[in-house]
Symmetry: C2
Subunit: 316 residues, 2 copies
Amino acid sequence: MPRLITVAAAQLGPIQRADSRGSVVARMLKLMEDAARERADLIVYPELALTTFFPRWYLEDRSQAEPWFESCMPGPETLPLFERARALGMAMSFGYAEATPVGQHFNSSVLVAATGQIVGKYRKIHLPGHVEHDPERTHQHLEKRYFEPGDLGFPVWNCLGGLVGMAICNDRRWPETWRVMGLQGVELVVLGFNTPSVNSQKAGEGLAERMFHHRLSLQAGAYQNATWVVAVAKAGVEDGHHLMGGTMIVDPEGRIVAELDHEADGLLVRTIDLDDTRFGKETIFDFKRHRRIEHYGLITKRTGVGAPLGKGGPEL
Amino acid sequence: MPRLITVAAAQLGPIQRADSRGSVVARMLKLMEDAARERADLIVYPELALTTFFPRWYLEDRSQAEPWFESCMPGPETLPLFERARALGMAMSFGYAEATPVGQHFNSSVLVAATGQIVGKYRKIHLPGHVEHDPERTHQHLEKRYFEPGDLGFPVWNCLGGLVGMAICNDRRWPETWRVMGLQGVELVVLGFNTPSVNSQKAGEGLAERMFHHRLSLQAGAYQNATWVVAVAKAGVEDGHHLMGGTMIVDPEGRIVAELDHEADGLLVRTIDLDDTRFGKETIFDFKRHRRIEHYGLITKRTGVGAPLGKGGPEL
């Protein structure tokens, strides 16, 4: 029997530095109403959905970044999202900059059930970029300055009759992200991103190759763990800085089943069957039969590159 | 300064059950001479290069498979490959069925330096398929019957002025394969395969999707570890069973730079720069700066899928 859910990828166009939280939440509510008309069970917004992608700016005094952070969730400005989603019976996920009561800062996302209850929280683990101003880059990417690496792992939650996980942006390039969720049986990964269309360390790379790497990472993660993926961009030009689009839904065979072709606010709605994950999980990626963890030790023993293990020699 | 080497992917067309070792070695030598004319520094042959893909046949008495195995390497029939490669000053890698003196059986490959010395041996870790005859499949895939899982890990060797690793066929679908080599700084992975063009458990899947998964796995492994890949097929119809082609060279950005478009004996020769791996290894995939092994524990703790870790609840 199929386990059908209707997912809405809710891409946001650019958010300028001067835009108020209220104006952004109004745009998100508009997308939510549109998704409701298409009977969505779940709406997924991008990373840092409430603000501009502020890690592009270097602030010598880090505390000046505080206005971009949320100190409670829901807070007064985000509560309308929770209330409207609950009224519509729609689950939701979105990303935001999180400040904790003890002064920590994370690049986070929440998974909110149709009841309005926060089911899960994720804090971005693979922070790209750097800590200090880097004059050699075409632009700054200071996620390592403004955020700490996530401290909650990659949990998977029971939600919407399936197993749902979250990841954020650069996490998608790391197979470890997908595998840790795959080992919990994940059936749907929701993933928001804000990806500059220019590589700050390789200006000639070009948008086409950036998009190729984006798709490759999502498709490999989906295929190798037999999971659905809903990946949602914040896109377009924010204060002169271009973020690429590429909002898409990928099936458990790694095929792109739908992709937005613009960089403005917009929805991609599809009904997906969580049971489509079963074939992969039961055959070629039946981990229990095929994985050989006795040979994977370096993955958790070494952080960086170490000496090669091959000894060679005629005794072989 | 670039570190250029010229690699030759030496695809083999089909090998019938009735074909002698001598006839196969003659074909391999012909490809080697062709590669020498193109000044190849390294020639890479496929998995099980010396025989037909015999795991497609169920033999109740396993010992009847013994003639397909090599009990020494080089042996009398493979010695001409070693001698000619040494005379030409060419390194080489090929796959074969290995029987050890103590009665073990592996799906193995060797890396042979231009001096003729075996530098490294790899024994396939991710064996696909099954152990007993399975009447529900369109054809049998009995690698788990005829081979034990490899016991040598995924070493990387100093060879040809770079860091070279080996993998075999189904290993390419597992990100762990690539990452364990990536953590040793691998710059070139050589990988042979024999891949049936029909999924024995999903006849309708089709060749195009099989080829898509093949490319996706190679491209993701290359990109996410910033390594060159030379992947080499045994292709064509062996005793009525079709193996797909797809011999290709993939660069450290995950781009396919060359691909054979036939299923017969044939060469793909390219000069590659091992220093092209540096950009990826020093920026987005600088493991030391970006990996967070404290959150990867499940990868080596769990073999199969276990309970989801997400607890949920309003305290979040």
